[in-house]
């Protein structure tokens, strides 16, 4: 099992959710985060003049999926999240050893 963490533009969350659902991926956890990558920060206005912040609002999606769903998930995300400009976001994949569904106590793949 893998954990897919996708940091995306907030406005794309909905489309990504739908796109994942089409691949049968339902379960996910979402958080509001601040991020920077190549797209660094933004200059906002103060009462007069401006100040620059180093971080931009992003959304991070955590998906725990079966190994076979990793590529479909990446595809589902990139398909709708790509504009080709800096700031589209990133996807990180890391290993997950165990999953437990609290309500039933099930473990492993069935628990996803």
């Amino acid at each position: 099992m893998k954990k897919i963490e996708a940091v995306i533009r907030p406005e794309n969350l909905d489309a990504i959710r739908v796109s994942l659902q089409e691949k049968g991926i339902i379960g996910m956890t979402v958080e509001e985060v601040q991020g920077r990558g190549r797209q660094k920060g933004v200059c906002l206005q103060w009462r007069a003049g401006e100040y620059c912040v180093e971080f931009l609002p992003k959304i991070k999606i955590d998906l725990i999926v079966d190994d076979k769903d990793v590529e479909p998930a990446i595809e589902a995300i990139t398909k709708v999240a790509r504009t080709g400009k800096n700031g589209d976001g990133k996807i990180f994949i890391s290993p997950v050893e165990q999953v437990v569904r609290i309500s039933s106590g099930e473990r492993g793949k069935e628990a996803i």
Binding site: Q45, A48, Y51
Partner: protein
């Protein structure tokens, strides 16, 4: 002859009977309409102080939100008591050589339900409480200069000293019976010198003494809640109708005129600031709210003397001055954090001078300025402005240094880093 005589008699008697009530009216008598307006105005001015807390509080970082709001709220409490105990007496009590009121009205001794000479148609207590709200907000205004780093204890002590040694005397000079600036003919309808210059200049002075926030100029210090700022600005605008309109001390044509120029100057300045920010980058919401406040500041001293068209000029010019003063100030690396000097100090200064320019007998028979051909009024205004600048600046530096030397003005660096809400108040704004 009989007829004639009886006619005369009738006339005379009727006249006497009729004039009796008229004579009674000449003796100071409470007018219910005037009283209703001044009491409503006092309530309106009261809400301005917590509104200022929100206006300021939304502009600081989340970790200092409560601390900043507290500066205003605590002053409502502190000066609310100070004023009835002795502040009112110092400012408005029987004159002592034009410089200060005597202490004979201590504890509001002799300030009662009948009118005083300050306002012959409303209870003396109504005038007193209306003035109380001015004292409160003036002290609170300064807090924009030292947010996010002052010790609460130092703040309370400084504020009490400042109210007593700076506000009360200046209020006496300009508004107290026998005050020397009043006698000199300085015009200040609702507090350009007394309220805005005194607080704005003092803010600059204490900003110098306390020094910059850690990270100032290097690190973004984001306003944490701009809707809160707008709410504060809206309530300030709302309350300002009492501030300026109530300063007519009655519900009359002058009050209506003051009300109108207040709204007009605020609207013009807000619009101007929108355009300035748009010209430089984007039409700023924070800027529009700031512009409105600056317009309100600028019209304050002039509000009982000028026409609506003059109010537009006063608002627009006020916005331009404050806008560029803010840019200038931040480039100087001076941390008057919420620009009390640029908004109130300069807004008040411009307003006071503009009063000398635009005052006209068409609005208020008691005053005429440059446009009425009375250039001397501008000079008088400049003197009043200069005196207020100097007195406020010097006294504030002294008081701030004294407080710093005794209890210390600033919190330790770690406390500043953690934020004053937790370190000074053991509270968190949001959870």
């Amino acid at each position: 002859m009989n007829i004639k005589k009886s006619m005369y008699l009738s006339i005379i008697i009727s006249f006497l009977l009729l004039s009796a009530p008229a004579l009674a009216a000449d003796a100071p008598k409470v007018d219910t309409g005037d009283t209703a307006w001044v009491l409503a105005s006092a309530a309106l001015v009261m809400i301005m102080t917590p509104a200022l807390g929100l206006f300021y509080g939304g502009m600081v970082r989340k970790k200092n939100a409560l601390s900043t709001i507290m500066f205003s709220f605590a002053i409502l409490a502190l000066i609310g008591v100070q004023w009835v105990l002795y502040g009112y007496s110092l400012a408005f009590g029987p004159d002592f050589h034009g410089v200060i009121g005597s202490l004979s009205w201590l504890g509001l001794n002799g300030v009662g339900q009948a009118p005083s000479s300050y306002a012959p148609t409303i209870p003396a207590l109504a005038y007193m409480i209306f003035q109380a709200m001015f004292a409160v907000i003036t002290v609170a205004l300064i807090s924009g200069a030292f947010v996010e780093r002052i010790k609460f204890s130092a703040f309370m002590v400084f504020s009490l000293l400042w109210a007593t040694l700076v506000y009360d005397p200046i209020a006496h000079w300009v508004w107290g019976a026998g005050g020397w600036l009043l006698k000199m003919g300085a015009l200040d309808f609702a507090g350009g010198t007394v309220v805005h210059i005194s607080s704005g200049v003092s803010a600059l002075a204490i900003a110098f003494v306390i020094g910059k926030r850690k990270g100032f100029g290097k690190q973004a210090m984001e306003p944490h809640n701009i809707p809160m700022v707008i709410l504060g600005a809206a309530l300030l605008w709302f309350g300002w109708f009492g501030f300026n309109g109530g300063s007519a001390l009655g519900a009359n044509g002058l009050a209506a005129s003051a009300f109108v120029v207040t709204n007009t100057a605020a609207a013009a300045a807000a619009l101007m600031w929108t355009l300035l920010s748009w010209y430089h980058k984007r039409p700023s919401v924070l800027g529009t709210a700031t512009g409105g406040v600056v317009g309100l500041v600028a019209i304050t001293p002039a509000s009982g003397y000028v026409t609506p068209m003059a109010a537009i000029v006063i608002g627009v010019v006020g916005a331009i001055i404050s806008y560029y003063a803010m840019l200038f100030r931040s480039k100087q690396n001076v941390d008057d954090s919420l620009d009390v000097w640029a908004c109130h100090g300069l807004g008040g200064t411009w307003g006071a001078i503009a009063t000398g320019i635009f005052a006209t007998v068409a609005v208020n028979s008691a005053s005429s300025g440059l446009i009425d051909g009375h250039a001397g009024q501008v000079v008088t205004q400049i003197i009043a402005v200069g005196v207020t600048w100097i007195y406020a600046f010097v006294m504030t530096v002294i008081l701030a240094k004294v407080v710093d030397a005794t209890i210390g003005l600033r919190v330790p660096d770690e406390e500043e880093a953690v934020g004053l809400d937790i370190s000074q108040h053991a509270e968190k704004a949001y959870s």
